[in-house]
């Protein structure tokens, strides 16, 4: 069970307080109608699914009810940092 630092609450809390929100930094296209089906499908369904460094959203559902991002290693499950939505990670890895 992961131990997650909520950057809003500034506390380490058990994974059970959170829910996973999927890959972070996927921006909704500003003009969806301008996209062809393939580009829209890319936004909808295709994720990097990194083996290693992964930026992902977590929701402090049983805490402050706020979303934030985590940089986590999907092999070792180490959480290298958590940071607020709208900010950028300081740790980036080769994706895939």
């Amino acid at each position: 069970m992961l131990l997650i630092h909520c950057p809003h609450c500034q506390e380490n809390r058990d994974e059970e307080e959170f829910s996973y929100g999927g890959e972070a930094h996927i921006v909704r296209p500003l003009e969806p109608e301008a996209l062809n089906d393939q580009a829209w499908a890319d936004y909808l369904f295709f994720r990097t699914n990194s083996r290693g460094i992964h930026h992902e959203m977590w929701y402090h559902a049983m805490g402050c009810r706020r979303y934030f991002n985590a940089t986590r290693n999907t092999l070792t499950y180490e959480i290298l940092e958590t940071y607020k939505t709208g900010t950028q990670p300081t740790i980036v890895g080769a994706s895939a």
């Binding site: 131990l3 829209w40 959203m57 070792t76 939505t85």
Partner: protein, 1001 residues
């Protein structure tokens, strides 16, 4: 009395039975020590060959002495006798052997063991094909160990979430001093040990420590630890799993040593520990030697023999033969000699054993036979003799004549294997170290360190030094102390040991394939020959061999057999052990009670029950309830003698003809505020809320980004920048999370705030042509006229003396008022409305009637009429989609994909059965041609179906391919019982298609 109990060992007598026979033990005994004291040789039968088996070890490593404890609801299968503390009246029995373990008819099968090499079942039982299930029946019957109870568990279990700075696992020498060093710094320490007493190997040690006997030294150290307020001592507590981010699980057995079932309190407790630092001091297991028929009762681990003598006062035999590859086992010879019983010899595989302790043994006149192997044990239900022979220096061949030595006990030692299990749980791969002939813990990503024997340090001085250092360093990493060891080192005299011999298979005069079975994994009858056979057949990976032979898959998880097995495999592959690798140990370290893992979250507490404020009233009035998510909702209110159909028909007619009332409190309610609230809601719903005025309500549908409907409900404008969103009962939590993710991660510039207010309000829906008359009796401050308070309006007011929000929205098609009051007034308002409605035969109704009434109107229920694959257009709800909105609302783009635009998608329609009295089952499949052959071409299915008492015929809602273009077509529903029900595709609105009913004056 007990033939093997040493006279010096006394204590309170405990009566117990084993396999129906009465015995006596002494307080402090385990079941194993008591059985050995009583000279019980055969305690079980092996899994595959039904060979008689005796007690082999003294702890978690025990492979043979698997017993069933007690009987009835509280029985426990598969306990290891070595871990069962004796209590008065204990009843235990062997798990295998019929009619008894001493005479087992299945042994006949075992005699044909050669026909059952590893993997034999993959090669047989295939023909004739139809007989496999019969074969399997008998295979299954022969398998399994103990018997699961058949009644519900009478015991309770609980959990404790714990945090600490340093968790010390194991209270042997290394663990004890680690805990002390950490405790001294003020760090919060938990020290857990699986045994009833702290001390580990020291409890059976003859060494002196700081001038006192080891057990006394332990007692004083434990007393010191108890005095620390920052230390929690957990005996009888097994750390069984080490998970990510230093989360560890401990099973504490609170009452198992007192009886089968807990008379008071919880039987076992699961500690869920988040530790900043962990010190693993889990010790080591002595490795058995693999020789022919090494499984006969009377063959034991050398350290176990010593433990039974020193700790339990039991000498488990008369004539000992000690067989070793190392110095450490010589202690057993010394311990044995003190019992006054005969020791035949020490057989040592090393040609010239010469360590300090060897000299001490020789000095006492015990014969040491060097350069020999014990190649075979003989005997049936107890060892009678051993065959020994000279072997070559590398231990691969017998090089001289075989001698027979009579004995009834063989104590063997092939060295020590560090208990790297918990370290391995973290994903750390154990590393082979030739210098200790064992695997050391690998490097892990967790905050932990190993100390003592589990790290391959086997001398007591070294264990104590490592433990102390580990404790101090761990504490300092938590911000306590500077990491230096503070307590003076304990004075201990260790023998200087000579190198051990790495020997994993003792040679026999015959080749391994032809020698009597040399067992590696006792519980699963895996032999050296079996491992070699697997290699011969082409299985080369250690995982393949494990899986093919079942090596290590027993309830002892290969604590004794794995290393020998892997070494034999490496040898067969002509590789080193390091190249062959090991397998990763998984939790549980030892088997863990399901009930303890489940804890309190079973039965009534399995999942919270949510009640509305009116719940008691419903109970008092005989409601039947339906589970909707966690909510208990009234399903229908049967009166005396009514069936469900009777009740629902009555409730429906009451609403249509006069007035009824529904407890709608469970609907999700989200309070939405902020200057951008309207813009935000408009992006989420398919329709627009930008022009919704205060006092007005609007029905909306929300889609996932893939264009599929996922929730619906009414949204009311409460004031400027203030809205109340209703969601489905089951969807409330999901919708709130949905709103928040969009606001927080995509549109943080929108100022809008969400608060769940589901539980803050109680809702009574008064519906029917007399609804206004009922409300008018209890509400004077709202003008209820159609003109002043029209459909899809809401008003603030006072209902039965309570401030209320009244919504004029309708899910029945009738004139409806949804009265919302603060939840604490729920029962009051319900009662008041019931009384106000008395003259109109006010009828409470439940969810079933609600479903019928809304189906008559063709209103959808998300999740019943939709299934995550339906768009608004599919549901014939294009009217709810605001295609002119400037913002591309969530899901809009997906509605333009080729598949969502496709003709012939399933569409929402009504079905009217040709025989109006036939009610289609919900879930019936729709076909156009009922005469076609299977597989049939299915065109849709029935989503909702009821008998409509008001209309006098059945009604159904369905989704049918191209259904909206097929009005009037007759379709067919072939049912499992052979009936085929014909129905006509009609509009989904069966009742009041013009929507006039809710405007009644």
């Amino acid at each position: 009395m007990s033939q093997n109990r040493l006279a010096s060992h006394t204590g309170a007598v405990i009566d117990f039975t084993f396999n129906g026979k009465s015995y006596q033990g002494i307080a402090g005994d385990t079941l194993a020590s008591a059985l050995l004291a009583n000279g019980v040789d055969v305690v079980g039968r092996s899994f595959k060959y039904s060979r008689p088996r005796g007690i082999f070890g003294h702890g978690a490593e025990e492979p043979n002495a698997i017993i069933q404890l007690g009987s009835g609801a509280s029985t426990v299968p598969n306990l290891k006798a070595t871990q069962v503390e004796l209590y008065q009246g204990l009843e235990a029995s062997s798990v295998n052997g019929w009619p008894s373990v001493n005479f087992d008819v299945m042994a006949i099968v075992g005699a044909f063991g050669r026909l059952m090499p590893p993997g034999f079942y993959y090669k047989t039982f295939m023909y004739p094909k139809k007989l496999w299930m019969t074969y399997e029946h008998f295979i299954r019957k022969a398998a399994g160990l103990g018997t699961a109870p058949v009644e519900a568990d009478p015991d309770t279990y609980d959990k404790l979430n714990q945090h600490c700075d340093v968790l010390v696992v194991g209270a042997g020498p290394a663990g004890l001093v680690a805990a002390r060093e950490a405790a001294r710094t003020g760090a919060r320490v938990i020290i857990a040990d699986e045994q009833s007493e702290f001390g580990g190997s020291l409890l059976a040690s003859q060494q002196t420590m700081d001038g006192v006997m080891a057990p006394r030294w332990v007692a004083s150290l434990v007393a010191e630890l108890v005095a620390y307020k920052n230390v929690q001592l957990l005996p009888r507590s097994t750390v069984f799993g080490y998970y990510d981010h230093n989360f560890l699980t401990i099973l504490e057995r609170r009452t198992d040593h007192l009886g089968l079932s807990s008379a008071q309190g919880t039987r076992q407790r699961l500690h869920r520990v988040r530790a900043v630092q962990v010190v693993l001091a889990t010790g080591a297991f002595e490795r058995p030697l693999v020789f022919a028929h090494n499984d006969i009762p009377g063959v034991m681990l050398a350290s176990s023999v010593s433990t039974y003598i020193n700790r339990y006062g039991v000498a488990p035999g008369k004539k000992l033969l000690l067989f070793t590859t190392n110095d450490s086992a010589y202690q057993t010879a010394l311990d044995w000699q003190q019992t006054g019983r005969q020791i035949i010899a020490v057989v040592d595989t090393r040609s010239n054993p010469s360590g300090d302790i060897v000299a001490a043994v020789k000095l006492r006149g015990i014969e040491v036979i060097g350069g020999h192997g014990l190649i075979e044990a003989q005997g049936n239900k107890r060892v009678k003799r051993a065959l020994i022979a000279p072997i070559n220096a590398s231990g691969t061949q017998v090089t001289g004549p075989v001698r027979r030595l009579n004995c009834d006990l063989i104590a063997c030692s092939g060295g020590w294997s560090p208990a790297v299990h918990l370290s391995s749980h973290t994903g750390a791969k154990p590393v082979w170290d030739e210098s200790i002939v064992g695997f050391r813990p690998g490097e892990s990503k967790q905050q932990e360190r190993s100390a003592g024997a589990c790290r391959g340090t086997f001398d007591l001085t070294g264990c104590l030094a490592e433990g102390a250092s580990a404790g101090a360093v761990a504490a300092s990493l938590c911000g306590h102390g500077d990491g230096s060891v503070q307590f003076p080192a304990c004075a201990v005299e260790d023998y200087i040991e000579q190198p051990q011999q790495a020997l994993f298979l003792v040679p026999h005069t015959s080749a391994t394939s032809r020698a009597p079975s040399q067992f590696v994994d006792f519980q699963l009858d895996v032999s050296a020959g079996g491992i070699e056979l697997a290699v011969r057949e082409g299985f080369e990976s250690v995982e393949h061999v494990k899986r093919y032979t079942a090596l290590g898959f027993g309830t002892d998880q290969g604590k004794l057999g794995n290393i020998n097995g892997m070494a034999i495999l490496a040898n067969a592959l002509d590789q080193t052990i390091a190249e062959t690798g090991t397998t990763i140990f998984r939790p549980s370290y030892t088997p863990t009670t399901f009930g303890a893992i489940a804890g309190r979250d079973v039965k009534a507490l399995f999942d919270p029950e949510r009640y509305t404020a009116m719940h008691r009233w419903h109970v008092e009035h005989g409601a039947e309830f339906e589970n909707v998510g966690q909510w208990k909702r009234p399903w229908y209110f049967p009166q005396q003698g009514e069936t469900m159909n009777d009740a629902v028909n009555r409730e429906c007619l009451a609403v249509r003809n006069s007035v009824g009332m529904l407890d709608a409190s469970t609907l999700g309610k989200i309070d939405i505020q902020g200057p951008d609230a309207a813009e935000f809601i408009t992006r989420i719903y398919t329709n627009s809320y930008l022009k919704l005025a205060p006092g007005k309500c609007r029905y909306g549908v929300m889609l996932k980004e893939d264009g599929m409907i996922f929730d619906d409900g009414v949204c009311a404008c409460l004031g400027d920048n203030h809205y109340l969103m209703f969601t489905t009962t089951g969807g409330a939590a999901g919708v709130l999370a949905w709103l928040e993710i969009w606001q927080q991660t995509e549109w943080p510039e929108l100022q809008v705030y969400f608060t769940s207010v589901t539980d803050h309000w109680a809702t009574a829906t008064v519906t029917g042509p007399n609804a206004r008359r009922v409300i008018a009796k209890v509400c004077q401050d709202i003008d209820l006229s159609n003109e002043a308070f029209s459909f899809m309006d809401w008003r603030d007011g006072t209902v039965a003396g309570v401030k209320a929000r009244v919504f004029r929205i309708s899910f029945t098609g009738e004139l409806s008022y949804e009265v919302n009051v603060p939840a604490h007034y729920g029962r009051h308002i319900w009662q008041a409305l019931i009384e106000a409605g008395e003259e109109f035969s006010m009828t409470p109704y439940g969810t079933e009637t609600m479903h019928v009434l809304r189906a008559e109107k063709g209103f959808i229920i998300v999740g019943q009429d939709t299934d995550g694959s339906m768009t608004p257009a599919d549901m014939n709800m294009d009217w709810v989609v605001g295609n002119k909105k400037t913002f591309s609302f969530i899901g809009k783009r997906s509605l333009q994909r080729s598949d969502t635009l496709r003709e012939n998608r399933k569409q929402f329609v009504g079905l009217k059965t040709v025989d109006g009295q036939a009610v289609l089952p919900e879930g019936a499949q729709v076909v156009f041609d009922a005469k076609q052959k299977i597989p049939m071409s299915m065109q849709g299915h029935v989503t909702s179906s009821y008998y409509s008492a008001y209309l006098g015929h059945s009604i159904a809602l369905a989704v049918v391919k191209g259904g909206l273009g097929r009005m009037g077509q007759v379709v067919h529903c072939p049912l499992a019982d052979g009936r085929i029900i014909a129905a006509e595709i009609v509009s989904s609105v069966f009742y009041d298609p013009k929507g006039e009913r809710h405007h009644v004056e």
